[in-house]
Symmetry: C2
Subunit: 313 residues, 2 copies
């Protein structure tokens, strides 16, 4: 089939190239172990050629767009952050062009930034494309999105633009506590997932009666010490405690900004969707999971807004 | 001078032996690198003899009391936890005796436990002796105590007994984030302590507007990324953020249990007293620092309550 666009999802650990039609549907796909931290000598052009060169040989005038860490300071060229509210037009206007050795022009999608009421900036790069792709797929102009990961993002869209987002270090805090803290020593090699719901329940408890996160973390130790939390439940319990805490934190902000919004679109890999689905449901959210096509859909919509799409022959 | 008691402050990393008078004043002191994790082959008797054997040779009938991790499951003999409210009489009644090879009797002070309203147990071992020593030194029956450390303890005393306490993993979370997270990579070898007050201010901010701890941790990265937090301030900023968060968490519980109590007695080592003093003052607490003699004073008062003290000749 005739392609209208080549889209690249180029992150820290991997590079995915797609031949796309005008709607963002995937015609061909190539995945390479060429995330920006794995590209030898910063030779992004060589990684680019290895991924999509054959497609360009066949169709030299296909437009090219990329999102993700490739547009960061550590990437090919920095595509400066665009402030919220950020919709398709703002991202299209913020595209940064890079000329490849073969003379093609690659457009890099900018990351987004938002300054909270307290003046503190937040940043996202790559997620903006997924969120706008998921928003487009939903057929709605508004939405609440959760993108679980090492650094989980929550985002609100209104009138087709991302108006707020915030990062939560949930995944990384979990990881360092498991590997390097006294809590890790209470854990078993095997997990009993029933600990997860107990962690969620603990996170939902009354902070006035029992303290917040820095205190509750210790409960993973004391419950185990008192034989009230079996070792295989300790890691899932800690996971539930942290994800639950994140939902409480984010939920306070969302409730203030978008009262009554309890429908969440979950965007993420297969491993984190089930626990987040369970956790969000525990806290009263209605959850829909976006499919994996949100990246390519977002890339196609941004390219379209920028007038880059090749017209069908 | 004539001693009335030998007291041992026997923790995880060190062992301190004291010849004490009836009021707990120190006549002689010996410190040894013989914390329970450093005693070879669990030969606590040998470590005990090396520390206080010479004093016992001279005065074989001196009573002996010890507090700290020596009474834990990993110590000499386990002295089971006493539930709150725990005053001098309850701790005296909970002493666990161990016979040494020379035929002396060492009394081990029990740790304390408390079950919060949510049913989760908390534990302390060693701190109970410091708190009751500090309470005795204050001449009051009530008090609020903060004992900073890897696992910081907050405690409330009423009518001479510890009625509530809670553990906060502040110090350990700070340590693992500095050493193992992405935040550590933003830090400089040299610290600029002015970052500490900025972290306190961030912790005091409105969680409804800007999220809680899991989100705020990320501000140490984004502020640095935007050149709004110099690298030498990142570590002190993170410290202020975490200690501030602890004070907010603990403060909510204290306000519910003891409305209006803002006078805090700080018990701890030289390194942590100045930052905690600054942090507590930032949040409106009046701070008094206890002197190092709270341990020996506590040991003497518990021994007295147990009828162990040798009468002056």
């Amino acid at each position: 089939m005739t392609a209208s666009l080549i889209g690249l999802d180029w992150g820290t650990t991997s590079l995915r190239g797609y031949r796309l039609d005008a709607g963002g549907a995937v015609l061909d796909c190539r995945t390479q172990d060429a995330g920006i931290l794995r590209v030898a000598d910063g030779d992004f052009d060589a990684a680019f050629e290895a991924c999509v060169g054959a497609w360009l040989d066949a169709e030299p005038d296909l437009p090219l767009i990329a999102s993700g860490m490739i547009g960061s300071r550590q990437g090919w060229v920095e595509a400066p952050y665009v402030p919220c509210p950020a919709g398709l037009d703002a991202l299209a206007a913020g595209l940064t062009k890079v000329q490849t050795k073969r003379g093609a022009t690659l457009s890099l999608v900018p990351g987004i930034t938002h300054r909270a009421a307290d003046g503190v900036p937040d940043v996202a790069r790559g997620e903006e494309t997924q969120i706008l792709g998921a928003l487009d797929a939903s057929g709605m102009a508004d939405g609440l999105f959760v993108l679980p990961g090492t650094h989980t993002k929550w985002a609100l869209a209104r009138d087709g633009a991302i108006v707020w987002f915030a990062t939560f270090m949930t995944g990384e805090v979990f990881d360092v506590l498991c590997r390097h803290s006294i809590l890790g020593r209470m854990m078993d090699d095997q997990d009993d997932p029933s600990g997860f719901a107990r962690g969620l329940a603990a996170a939902a408890g009354d902070a006035e009666a029992s303290g917040g996160l820095l205190h509750r973390l210790f409960s993973a130790r004391t419950l185990a010490l008192f034989d009230e939390l079996p070792a295989p439940q300790v890691r899932p319990y800690l996971s539930g405690l942290l994800i639950g805490q994140e939902i409480v934190e984010a939920g306070r902000v969302v409730a203030a900004m978008a009262p009554g919004r309890t429908a969440v679109t979950l965007i993420g890999g297969a491993a984190l969707v089930p626990p987040y689905r369970q956790a969000l449901a525990h806290f009263g959210y209605g959850v829909a999971a976006a499919d994996a096509a949100v990246v390519t859909r977002g890339l196609a919509r941004i390219a379209d807004a920028a007038g880059l799409l090749r017209s069908p022959a």
